[in-house]
Symmetry: C2
Subunit: 426 residues, 2 copies
């Protein structure tokens, strides 16, 4: 068996900068569209941005409607409600998603299910769903992120909770990638500090996980049919990851602690975009795999936890926070797979960190940052204890699609070690 | 008037690596196509690659035809011949261009004129043509470069000589960008040393010119209608340019002098792709503007010049060579616009160069390289003399679309100084 010699790279078109969201009407007019559905969630709808973006399209003869009932942390039920709305009110020539990852992911599913027949579960990843590939091309989808984190504007997946099976899974296909990402830092200025911190840790882990991912050359040679969007670290994803880390090193603390610092907001938005372009092609691994059960079991295990900055009326761990809580220990464990990359990451994130050039450097840099931006000190502070570790391991090990990108093979014991050592981080 | 705050970025999908060109049949089958026209030039046809790529599509039920009469350095007449062939033998569901910039550019024009009505001159840039924008979407175009240089697989333009007006111009529109770039370093192994040297200087100048281009923030605020694909240097194009220069620093001399070094060929192919992604969004300036008259007037002024490595039965200056001949003096003149960028470029290209940190460093690094890879020592060695300078200035100053990206305003006198000092470089 020879090794892999080919990697792939895809990206949406990008319009970046303050004021970029004022031009979406024009941009859509070049696709020759007449009826556009704007999707958003109630919180973002309250900022007025989605309505403003919709109204600005009228000057280009575009009829619009705003669907403002996207569910944050979407489920199969919430996807189906959005799809039913779009099917009933359609046909639509294009979609615009204004919001965070939940909104952009919902728009991807709506686009898929209004251009292709069948039902949601036909397309959801196996074994949960039937993993059917779309037969028809999708409509133009413009993604307008209002948080600096998920990178959903760059990726080919949408994530959902399948309620009946109590499992988080997704739909993954190249055609789901948005046509155009419009990243306007002005839309991110009102993110509360807690949201900026958690979403920013998502950016950081996208960059770190794709930078330390298994190299594409380490896989067996794939046939074209076997290629997946996440092909392992490669020379292009590395560039994006490194640059995202450099941007975070100068802007992250400022954006959390001085939310009105427009320069820091712009750098965070660019870091989120770049990290999205990186992991959207390379993939993510252990911290993201762990995040599924950490976020998924919080209701039952830590019913009193409320994250700062979120209007949560029930227990929830924001995605970026869930990802970050095991990151220091995950990267201590992956250190041996590529010491030079772990040390380079530590230097990019904290050029003057002064830690010894060993496995502790990157975890220490991460812990310093997390403490400064008020991320909880480990799973314990969220409410998890020693007795929850086995359960979290079981949930993480189900994410084999992500763990396949880890630079070392992860056993149950390895995962238990990482999760157990993450109960308290500093 | 406020300054510009928005930049744009676009790129084709990319499949990169040895063996990537074996998978085009599969890739096209995902677009649901039935009839595909493969375009190439006679020289590349003789390598057998276009035929192999066409045959490999049959396994996916795709009917193919190979058009092997692309003209190197295309003209309006050669574009029209290719368009007529495609219109007569069509309709085609997709196009595959296997070759250098001439072939990829011809395929862009064929795609445009078989999906949109009218004639070639309707779409050519004003004032030469009527600069019409395409009304209809184009078909999928897969670009398979066989030289490491032009970056045409990433860009939204095609360049042609309009014979009756004796002028080089182009068609520029976002829809011309190929859908997918398939970059297979194995196809570039047979480039003769002279071709590798000239085409490699094109890569280097793409990277250097976009890195030193006028920053996008220095323009007046544009309306969306005024945006052009070349928006000036920006944080994304900078990344690509820097990385292309790093790759060239370790691979360029090796690829010229040891053409069988597969590692060097792969790095050159990656550098060409990255530089194409950079300049395809930022733009190029003085050396490319000068290249138009340097290449265009060679028949008349230097009838005896034959470049090494090219099978030329008449005088010609290869594009990359024409671009490179005024690069050292152009970058000496632009130094004051951003000393730190010029010095950083010199360091990326030659980390241990040892030249003083002033305006002479980058020109000296370029001259060292050009001497080592047997590029002519200036315009004089091609056959131009002092008495040709005014004529070359006149030709260069016509390229205002490119000169608009220069970091300083270029007068006739400035251009004369750069061209005059480029008669002998070392």
């Amino acid at each position: 068996m020879t090794g892999e010699s080919v990697f792939t790279y895809g990206a949406p078109g990008l319009k970046f900068g303050t004021g970029a969201s004022d031009e979406i009407g024009y941009d859509l007019s070049t696709y020759d569209v007449r009826r556009v559905l704007v999707l958003t969630d109630p919180g973002v709808a309250a900022t007025g941005h989605p309505q403003r973006i919709a109204e600005q399209m009228h000057a280009f003869g575009i009829e619009t409607q705003v669907f403002d009932a996207v569910h944050v942390e979407p489920t199969d039920a919430s996807f189906e409600a959005a799809i039913a709305f779009a099917r009933d009110s359609g046909p639509w020539d294009a979609y615009v998603a204004v919001g965070g990852g939940s909104t952009i992911d919902t728009a991807k599913a709506v686009n898929l299910l209004t251009t292709n027949d069948g039902e949601l579960m036909d397309y959801v990843n196996a074994p949960v769903g039937r993993a059917r590939a779309p037969r028809n091309p999708l409509k133009p989808l413009v993604a307008v992120p209002t948080t600096t984190g998920t990178g959903a504007e760059s990726t080919t997946i949408c994530v959902l909770d399948v309620l009946a099976q109590q499992v988080k899974t997704g739909i993954s296909h190249a055609r789901l990638r948005p046509t155009l990402a419009v990243v306007d830092p002005a839309l991110t200025m009102t993110q509360p500090a807690g949201v900026t911190a958690a979403a920013g840790m998502d950016i950081l882990c996208h960059a770190l996980e794709s930078y330390t991912a298994r190299p594409f050359t380490s896989y067996d040679k794939k046939t074209p049919e076997q290629r997946v969007p996440y092909c392992g670290s490669n020379p292009i994803s590395d560039l994006w990851s490194e640059q995202a880390m450099s941007l975070l090193s100068t802007s992250f603390r400022r954006a959390v602690n001085h939310g009105d610092d427009a320069g820091a907001r712009e750098q965070m938005a660019l870091a989120a975009t770049m990290a999205g372009l990186g992991f959207g092609n390379a993939g993510v691994h252990i911290p993201h795999a762990n995040a599924y059960p950490i976020a998924g079991r919080v209701h039952e295990r830590c019913p009193d936890f409320r994250p700062a900055g979120y209007e949560a009326d029930e227990a929830m761990v924001p995605h970026g926070m869930a990802v970050s809580l095991t990151a220091p220990e995950a990267f201590r464990w992956t250190f041996s797979s590529s010491p030079e990359r772990h040390l380079r990451a530590a230097s990019l994130l904290a050029p003057d960190h002064g830690y010894d050039a060993g496995p502790d450097a990157l975890p220490a840099v991460l812990a310093d940052l997390m403490r400064d931006i008020a991320i909880p000190n480990g799973l314990g502070e969220v409410g998890y204890g020693e007795s929850d570790v086995d359960d979290l391991v079981e949930g993480a090990m189900k994410q084999q699609r992500l763990l396949a990108t880890a630079p070392r093979e992860v056993t149950d014991e390895d995962a238990a070690g990482i999760l157990g050592r993450s109960l308290e981080l500093w």
